[in-house]
Amino acid sequence: MTLHKAEKVIIITEKMITKGVCAIIDEAGATGYTIVAAGGKGSRGIRSTSESASVIDDFANVKIEVIVNNKQMAEHIMNKVAEKYFQSYSGITYMEYVDILRPEKF
């Protein structure tokens, strides 16, 4: 077995723009993504993003992860998302290096 280097882009942002972020990911040519419900606190206050999360037991953020086999694509996704959304919506994005099993999948 050999593992191959790849990049993982992580975007943590408001649930309501999930669709738009996923569209950017698809357009960039990534083969898929994974979404997890999240809560959090950032520069805009505790769960600043949720319309009604203080009383209702809910996570109003999402954490979206994309594995890509190509650093440029990774940076492209990060830039696009930050440009389009992070002025008006709260969110962060960062990157990690991972080892993948089947490089042809990504």
């Binding site: 309501m16 319309e51 009383v55 037991d57 919506y89």
Partner: protein, 311 residues
């Protein structure tokens, strides 16, 4: 019922999101079903004037609100449009609370009146969004984004709140759901509503903090606007009373719709369509001040007013 509003200070009590969503769904289905059943049997011509009044009220509220905020210094224009839109839109829960009160005091209303909800809600949201977008166009002239009106209408009809209401309406119009309405939705109605009121009360308290961070003007607007909006609608409703015998209860409900501000579907719609507006400004003001005023002050006020006027 109003008394439960401020109750749960500091408590760890939380309502699971799934339950909250289901309660909202059930309330809107109930209003829709009932409305649909009634429209089936109603005289359509009776509905024209009240429906037209609802549209008019939605538009007036947004225009007046936008104007007010535009003359207040240091308020971002987008924030003003969004706030005006939210107060023009309608709260299903406030409306439901008024319905329960009217029934308790046996004040009659045409059952299709609550179904006028979207007639006020959609024009108000739409107009606010359009105004904000037009404003932004003027600011950065190079931008070539167009305002996609039909897209906005579609999105707002597809939102989960309006979907449930319209689905209920449709089912009420086309099928015979009377049995389900009576055996299922009616008994749950009051209980669910009381839980919703509880949630809203806790929410109002929780948002006070947020409100403190934005300009006082929002709080002042949020206090007086519901009363003003309700009175405008009451006046238009009164005209409909004289001309097409719109019931006193109907007039009250129209006024309550105007006084209410959207708590479920409005905020996400506005957030998506006017992303540059600061949600703390409009949500804080409406949830912490506007909604309590609409429920605890306006509903009894308009009932009392109706007793004076229609006696």
């Amino acid at each position: 019922m109003g008394g439960m509003l401020i109750a749960a200070l500091g408590s760890h009590l939380k309502i699971p999101n799934a339950v909250y969503q289901f309660i909202v769904f059930a309330l809107l289905m109930k209003i829709g079903l009932k409305g649909g059943i009634e429209i089936r049997e109603a005289n359509l011509s009776d509905m024209i004037l009240p429906a037209f009044s609802a549209i008019l009220v939605g538009i007036i509220i947004v225009l007046v609100g936008s104007f007010i905020f535009s003359i207040i210094p240091k308020i971002k224009r987008e924030d003003g449009y969004a706030t005006a839109g939210l107060f023009g839109a309608v709260s299903a829960s406030t409306l439901a609370a008024a319905m329960v009160l009217l029934e308790e005091q046996s004040i009659r209303y045409e059952a299709w009146v609550p179904a006028l909800y979207p007639f006020m809600d959609i024009p108000a949201l739409l107009l606010a969004i359009i105004l904000a977008n037009v404003y932004q166009h003027k600011q950065n002239k190079d931008a070539d984004t167009k305002v996609d009106i039909s897209g906005i209408i579609k999105e707002s009809l597809r939102g989960s709140a309006l979907s449930a209401l319209l689905l209920g309406l449709l089912l009420g119009l086309m099928t015979k759901p009377d049995a389900i309405l009576e055996s299922f939705y009616e008994p749950l109605f009051r209980g669910f509503l009381s839980i919703l009121m509880l949630v809203m009360g806790m929410e109002a308290y929780a948002r006070l903090n947020e409100l403190r961070k934005v300009a006082h003007w929002y709080a002042i607007y949020a206090f007086f606007a519901p009363i003003m909006h309700g009175l405008i609608a009451f006046g238009l409703g009164y005209i409909a009373h004289i001309t097409v015998e719109f019931s006193p209860g109907g007039v009250i409900l129209l006024a309550v719709m105007a006084a209410s501000n959207s708590d479920i579907s409005g905020p996400p719609t506005l957030r998506a369509a006017i992303p540059t507006a600061n949600p703390s400004a409009y949500i804080g003001a409406s949830t912490s001040v506007g909604t309590p005023v609409a429920i605890a002050l306006c509903i009894p006020l308009f009932i009392a007013l109706a007793e004076v006027v229609f006696k």
